[in-house]
């Protein structure tokens, strides 16, 4: 079961309403995406904490064994 880019963005948007979110489809198979999330809430957090918050927003969609999304190349940033 694959996912659409807008579904990923919507999920992340739920947790990060003001974030700048860019989803890139890496393979066209609905399973390999890159996501860049730029949000004020990341300020002062290290990469692991930032990315953990984004993975939490994806609510288990990322889980390898039955997850819909196999690969999400994640980049998180704080607004300049």
């Amino acid at each position: 079961m694959a996912m659409q880019a807008h579904e990923i963005e919507a999920l992340i948007r739920e947790t990060f309403p003001d974030a700048q979110i860019t989803i890139t489809d890496l393979a066209g198979d609905g399973n390999h995406y890159a996501a860049e999330v730029i949000d004020e809430s990341f300020r002062g957090k290290n990469r692991v904490q930032q990315q953990r918050a984004v993975y939490a927003a994806l609510k288990g969609k990322m889980d390898g064994s039955h997850g819909e999304l196999h690969a999400l190349a994640l980049t998180t940033k704080v607004p300049q």
């Binding site: 990469r47 990315q51 953990r52 990322m62 889980d63 999400l72 190349a73």
Partner: protein, 120 residues
């Protein structure tokens, strides 16, 4: 604690560097695991490679242990460092070298430098 959690806890504390991955360091079975194992191999880092495909309990247990949903996962001195994206970024920025220096982990500095040059 479940036996998987206990087992993981013991492993990450017993080894300076541990990589939970799909496959082994000689035979990675996933592109992301292969990239991180490749970096560690190239930098001559000594590490324990745990093949999560060999044990479903560990495969799920490690995600609960670190509250991180993906594989591979790198641990240095018992601390979760990151997955493929973070390790790639840290390698290119030099933060991985610093982390290893700070934790007394031996690695080939010249090799690390070459990786950055190649991806310059």
């Amino acid at each position: 604690m479940s036996d998987a959690t206990t087992q993981i806890d013991e492993t990450v504390k017993a080894n300076d560097v541990v990589l939970y991955m799909k496959g082994t360091k000689e035979m990675p079975q996933c592109g992301f695991s292969s990239r991180v194992a490749g970096v560690l191999n190239y930098m001559g880092v000594e590490y324990a490679d745990i093949n999560v495909l060999a044990d479903e309990n560990i495969r799920q247990g490690i995600k609960d242990y670190s509250d991180w949903p993906t594989i591979p996962q790198l641990y240095v001195k018992g601390e979760f460092v990151g997955g493929c994206d973070i390790i790639t970024e840290m390698t290119l920025s030099g933060e991985l070298d610093t982390l290893f220096d700070d934790n007394g982990v031996v690695y080939d500095k010249e090799a690390a430098h070459k990786i950055r040059e190649a991806n310059g």
